[in-house]
């Protein structure tokens, strides 16, 4: 369980805006092991989005090394990057990014459509399993517009799970949700990490969300300010139970 899946050394990423060169990431090094739950914190402009894009193989570093599950990402072509994302990564976005007017199960199946190894029946089977893991099996034929924000985000998490990724990348995944729903999502993510052993990298700027992770990397001006193991991990489930019960409706559908 202790194998290194992300190995980043002296990573640099520079953008040219006009004549100025902006150093979004300046000499960043760290490793991620299987089963970790890391939050990446930082104010806007600290380089956390760039780091996530690089971790997610959406862009390549200007300099430095990035090994993802043993593959040197900087040497891959665009198509190979796409393949890597398809097989090894799961994405959860702030705005869910579900396809409108498309049922939950079809949204979840989406990554496997780009993988020829799966037949239609296998795809469906895996999608049902993934929806089960996020406790939305009974809503699989609902359209995104028929689901609450929390439920939509859980569909998105199921979509990130379907290809059994080595790492799930979440970009402000609770940013669009109220605090109660946020805790529900964090509860789910903690469960995926603890029970299913999923490696999770969670970008956020909310310190109380970071409390639920096992390790926090804080960025500032493109450099790592702090990389600390969280000794006092919060339990989202416990926090949720302490909240006053919702008055109007419950979004939990266990």
């Amino acid at each position: 369980m202790d194998s290194v899946i992300v190995d980043i050394k002296n990573l640099k990423r520079e953008f040219k805006i006009g004549e100025e060169t902006v150093k979004a990431l300046n000499d960043v090094s760290f490793t991620i092991k299987t089963g970790e739950f890391i939050t990446i914190m930082g104010s806007s402009g600290s380089g956390k989005t760039t780091l996530l894009n690089i971790l997610g193989c959406l862009e390549k570093p200007t300099q430095g090394q990035y090994l993802l599950d043993g593959t040197d990402v900087s040497k891959l072509s665009k198509n190979e990057l796409a393949r890597l994302r398809n097989k090894k990564l799961g994405f959860v976005f702030q705005s869910y990014n579900l396809l409108a007017r498309t049922s939950a199960i079809e949204n979840v199946e989406l990554p496997l459509l780009y993988n020829n190894e799966f037949s239609a029946s296998e795809r469906k089977e895996k999608a049902i399993k993934a929806l089960e893991a996020v406790k939305l099996k009974d809503r699989m034929y609902h359209l995104p517009s028929q689901l609450s924000g929390g439920q939509q985000q859980r569909v998105a998490i199921a979509r990130a799970l379907i290809n059994d990724p080595v790492m799930i990348l979440a970009d402000e995944a609770t940013g669009n949700l109220d605090s109660r729903t946020s805790y529900e999502i964090m509860e789910l993510i903690q469960e995926l990490n603890d029970v299913h052993g999923k490696t999770i990298v969670f970008v956020t700027h909310e310190p109380d969300i970071a409390l639920f992770s096992k390790r926090t990397i804080t960025l500032k001006d493109g450099k790592i300010l702090k990389d600390a193991i969280n000794t006092n991990i919060g339990n989202a489930k416990a926090v949720l139970e302490k909240l006053p019960a919702p008055e109007e409706f419950s979004t939990t559908t266990a």
Binding site: L58, K78, R83, R85, F91, N116
Partner: protein, 406 residues
């Protein structure tokens, strides 16, 4: 990515915007329907002309005297006296590609049976005329070469003439009718032939031995036409060349003389009569084809809109592992699907409206398989051609920027 998946994705995208897709298809639908209807109507009129010319006979060759100059005066066709018995003899001497020859001399006039009279044409011919024009008798017997030799006063009568002279529908064989005070004995009745391609009633006619007309009515030795027939369809051109050669010789024309006659085969007649309708068909089809191109531009336009609209979706698909190629194929197949679906609807509408034209306007039509196949192919190509650039644009998007697009 599997084709079935691509088709599914494309189909869903189309279904999601039913109205817009339908409007986009409209150009293609109208274009294809128009192409099919135009070619069907053109083809139909061509076939009907061909059919009418076929009723004239089988592998028929017509020899018409040509106006030539006599003493500086150009004479018109009917008064030209260049075809006579010598030509017939020459043609019958050693035929290679010709198997029958008959002269035609015709005269118009009133034919009388008791109290009934009727204005018609009496044509003097050889017995072979019936063979050349593939015109069997309905009743009775044909006259023979002996009747020709003796200028016998016998005749074969067309159905229109009988209907007017014998309104009571009695048996006409053996009865006598009078033409220019000459009594003709009816020995046969011609079967129904219908209108020819010029709209003349071919059944309004009486046939007699050519000599009877020449000697007893007109007192002439010339022929107005000579009809011949080739041994088979393939030989009509050779036969027409043979006729020309023989007649030039019999008319003693030297190399510097022009022909004083014209030889026309049925095939030439067909192409002559169908050329106008062919040109019209081509013109109309080109116009219909232009609307197909306009329809294609409509598809291109909508595909650009669609790509812009779905930038975020493209970014998402790319982040989930879609390659540029997958996105390209997705949008390309969507465009092709739109154009092909439009094409299919157009084909159905085209065929239906063609049938409606036949049903209500009684125009002859013929939907050709090639026009259906061609318009389907053109639709496919339109889809590929006009869908390619929008699809390429989609495939070149950067996933990060596309995801951030609002």
């Amino acid at each position: 990515m599997r084709l079935s998946n691509l088709l599914r994705i494309a189909w869903r995208a189309i279904i999601r915007n039913k109205m817009r897709t339908l409007l986009t298809m409209l150009g293609i639908i109208i274009g294809v329907a128009a192409v099919i209807a135009m070619t069907a109507i053109g083809q139909g009129s061509k076939q009907s002309i061909e059919g009418q010319i076929k009723t004239m006979g089988s592998n028929m060759i017509m020899i018409v005297p040509l106006s030539n100059v006599q003493g500086g005066v150009r004479l018109d066709n009917s008064s030209v006296q260049s075809l006579d018995e010598n030509d017939i003899t020459a043609l019958q001497k050693q035929p290679v590609y010709i198997n029958a020859v008959s002269p035609v001399v015709s005269v118009k006039g009133q034919v009388i049976n008791g109290a009934n009279n009727w204005s018609t044409t009496i044509q003097g011919v050889y017995p072979d005329f019936l063979f050349i024009r593939s015109w069997p008798l309905k009743d009775g017997v044909a006259f023979t070469n002996r009747d020709v030799k003796s200028a016998a006063k016998v005749c074969l009568v067309g159905l229109t003439v009988i209907a007017n002279l014998f309104p009571d529908g009695e048996d006409v064989i053996g009865k006598s009718i009078r033409f220019k005070n000459i009594p003709f004995k009816i020995i046969g009745v011609l079967s129904k032939k219908g209108d020819n391609s010029f709209g003349q009633d071919q059944d309004d006619m009486i046939l007699t031995p050519v000599t009877t007309v020449q000697k007893r009515i007109l007192a002439t030795t010339y022929y107005q036409y000579i009809y011949a027939s080739a041994i088979d369809e393939k030989s009509t051109d050779s036969a027409s060349a043979e006729v020309e050669q023989v007649l030039r010789k019999s008319h003693r024309l030297t190399a510097s003389n022009e022909n004083d006659f014209t030889v026309r085969t049925q095939a030439q007649l067909v192409s002559m009569l169908t050329s106008t309708s062919s040109i019209l068909t081509i013109l109309l089809t080109v116009i219909a084809g232009i609307s197909l191109v306009v329809g294609g531009i409509g598809i291109m336009n909508i595909m650009y809109v669609s790509v812009t609209e779905r930038t975020k979706e493209i970014g998402l698909r790319m982040s989930l592992g879609a390659r540029g190629r997958d996105i390209l194929m997705q949008f390309l197949i969507e465009a092709i699907l739109i154009s092909i679906t439009g094409g299919l609807i157009g084909i159905i509408i085209g065929i239906t409206s063609t049938k409606a034209v036949t049903l209500f306007l009684h125009w002859p039509t013929a939907v050709s398989e090639s026009s259906v196949l061609l318009s389907f192919l053109v639709c496919f190509i339109t889809g590929v051609f006009f869908g390619y650039y929008p699809a390429l644009k989609a495939s070149k998007l950067d996933p990060i920027e596309a995801l951030r697009y609002e």
